[in-house]
């Protein structure tokens, strides 16, 4: 019973595919999974937008949207109708073709990323050996769409937003990759399915998730920072920094195209959270061994939503950085730390089982963090100040 529930989607798919003649079965199987992804994640997007607006509202001592449907749960539908019926405005001198293609390029690329993310036991669309590599190469193509949008709009704000976005995404791709490499070094595989399975073991009922190791914890923090920047979320939302650049690269988009950009951005958030979950949070594995009976896909989606909630929380609190600070942060802090993390991983492997590797690895990362933080702040003369008073 438990395993049926766990595998319910897989069984359902097999049953549906089994109804078809055997010639069509491989194609139909893939198609069915694609349809599932294309349906589930936009639905999750709608839910997340609502959650975000509600959550931000609560953080700001207000209710958030609550007028459409009970507790405002139909708000996403209202938003969808609104964006579909709005006039699609293309600036007169814009490059109409590229302006049209840009949101499509973004959404297609982001959907492709989901192909390799394991969403439950046996629930992955394509289980390829180099799925991590696939994920990053597809993810890199989103930069293209951002620049297409910014360039084709013929708007100075769009252009500046696109420049910022490209610079930022390229810079943060490096630490993102580097922090993932740490996991690959331990697991010895680029396949996300294998990485998750390697973490699905328990000692004294506690899981072997990568985040529960010194290098994994540091790696996860780095990964989270880079992923936030990669998805242009606050505090790294400079490309669309509304107080400076109006709306950044999609200033000139309206109606459904704008909605597509919005969708693409949130889907990117899901996919990268899914990747982070798979790499560091044990993917679909349960947090305690006695919870083994809960279906694996619930764990996966639960973890993804949890990381999304953290992103919302951060968004509700933090102001954004400046462009040069952002780049400095990437190249002068996050990247060295991820490189050091690779050394840390090597140490972890070299030292073998025992308490020594815990102490050494933790100490290396902590000392490096404190030193880097303090020197960085001192260099920029940043710190709390005291004030004098005149009577």
């Amino acid at each position: 019973m438990v395993s049926t529930l766990d595998q319910i989607f897989v069984l359902l798919k097999h049953w549906l595919v089994g109804l078809l003649p055997s010639v069509l079965q491989p194609a139909a199987g893939v198609l069915l999974s694609v349809v599932a992804i294309v349906c589930v994640f936009p639905a999750l997007f709608a839910l997340t937008v609502l959650l975000e607006r509600k959550g931000l509202g609560r953080m700001q001592n207000r209710l958030g949207p609550n007028r459409v449907g009970p507790f405002g749960i139909l708000q996403p539908i209202a938003d969808a109708i609104k964006s579909l019926t709005k006039e699609d405005i293309v600036p007169l001198r814009a490059d109409a073709l590229i302006h049209f293609l840009a949101p499509l390029v973004l959404v297609v690329a982001v959907f492709l990323e989901f192909a390799v993310v394991p969403m439950g036991r046996n629930m992955v669309l394509v289980d390829m050996d180099a799925s991590l590599l696939f994920f990053f190469s597809i993810g890199a193509s989103t930069e293209l769409s951002v620049f297409m949008a910014g360039w084709s709009s013929r708007n100075k704000y769009s252009l500046m937003g696109a420049m910022r976005a490209v610079a930022q995404m390229i810079s943060y791709e490096v630490p993102l990759l580097m922090s993932s490499v740490a996991v690959v070094m331990i697991t010895g595989s680029l396949s996300l399915v294998k990485i998750v399975e390697a973490q699905n073991q328990y000692t004294y009922g506690l899981p072997h998730w990568n985040i529960f190791t010194p290098w994994g914890c540091a790696g996860f923090v780095m990964f989270a920072i880079a992923a936030t920047a990669e998805t242009n979320r606050s505090p790294f939302d400079l490309p669309e920094g509304e107080s400076e650049l109006v709306a950044g690269y999609f200033t000139e988009y309206s109606g459904f195209k704008f909605a597509l950009f919005f969708l693409g951005e949130y889907l990117g958030m899901f996919s990268i959270s899914g990747l982070g979950t798979a790499l560091f949070l044990g993917g679909w594995s349960a947090p305690f061994s006695f919870l083994w009976w809960v279906p694996s896909w619930i764990w996966f989606f639960g973890k993804v939503m949890l990381s999304i909630c953290v992103l919302i929380w951060v968004r509700g609190t933090l102001p954004r950085l400046r462009q040069d600070q952002l780049m400095n942060f990437a190249w002068k802090f996050v990247l060295p730390m991820t490189l050091l993390n690779l050394v840390d991983v090597a140490l972890w492997r070299f030292l073998g089982e025992g308490w020594l590797r815990w102490v050494v690895c933790s100490a290396v990362m902590l000392v490096a963090y404190v030193a880097a933080a303090l020197t960085g702040l001192r260099r920029d003369h940043i710190g709390p100040r005291s004030y004098r008073y005149a009577e």
């Binding site: 953080m59 700001q60 001592n61 609550n66 951060v314 509700g316 609190t317 933090l318 960085g376």
Partner: protein, 222 residues
């Protein structure tokens, strides 16, 4: 230490997010059409004309002295004086506003008109749901729409209204005493002259007295 301030901030927002479910202090939203804040007594929005008694046309306190029209900062009051006099709620013949329009699309709710009115005839309303789809006529209120009873005034500004009533009553007592004295003097005079006084004259005299304060501030305000 790097990150400490950020964590502090995160804790603060978390506290507020959780607090919004427990404490009314941290959830300030008022869901307007269903839920309304009680208006404080001093609240003001647009002016209205007070009338005594039941008949609005008869009971208007306004005597069309046009001080408010002159003092109104955005000049949104338009008054036409009547040519004749009509008895007011207390039976004294008064000049009345033949036309009294307030363009509340121009009005800035400053209550200068209330302050300068010597007759307590114009007061501030608390009605705020006045939107209309008629852009030109809808926000131009004439004297019929502006006229509200003294009871209504008592309802929205009870303290202020009772003060005003007391003041008016005192003034009336004074005026009556004066009228009585004048009438008495006239009667004495008439008796002394042993000539029958014409009833119309006796009635007209106190009116002149009552009109006097109206004329004075008007000249001042010019």
């Amino acid at each position: 230490m790097l990150g400490e301030g950020i964590l502090k901030g995160l804790a603060e927002t978390a506290r507020n997010a959780v607090g919004s479910f427990v404490s009314k202090d941290r959830l300030t939203t008022v869901e307007y059409p269903e839920e309304r804040l009680p208006l404080p007594e001093a609240s003001r929005n647009f002016p209205f004309l007070v009338y005594d008694g039941t008949d609005w046309e008869k009971g208007l306190r306004c005597v069309a002295c046009q001080i408010c029209e002159k003092e109104c900062p955005p000049k949104c009051i338009y008054i036409d004086k009547s040519k004749d006099k009509k008895p007011d709620a207390f039976g004294r013949p008064q000049i009345y506003p033949a036309k009294f329009d307030i363009d509340i699309s121009v009005c800035m709710s400053c209550q200068i008109c209330v302050e300068v009115c010597p007759f307590e005839a114009i007061k501030m309303d608390t009605q705020y749901e006045l939107s209309t789809d008629d852009r030109f006529g809808g926000l131009l209120l004439d004297r019929k729409e502006l006229a509200k009873s003294n009871e209504y005034y008592h309802q929205i500004h009870p303290t202020e209204a009772s003060e005003v009533d007391a003041k008016l009553a005192a003034e009336k007592v004074k005026a009556d005493a004066k009228a009585k004295a004048a009438a008495g003097a006239a009667a004495a005079k008439a008796a002394a002259a042993a000539a029958a006084p014409k009833p119309a004259e006796a009635a007209a005299k106190p009116v002149v007295l009552a009109d006097a304060p109206a004329a004075k501030p008007q000249g001042e305000g010019d």
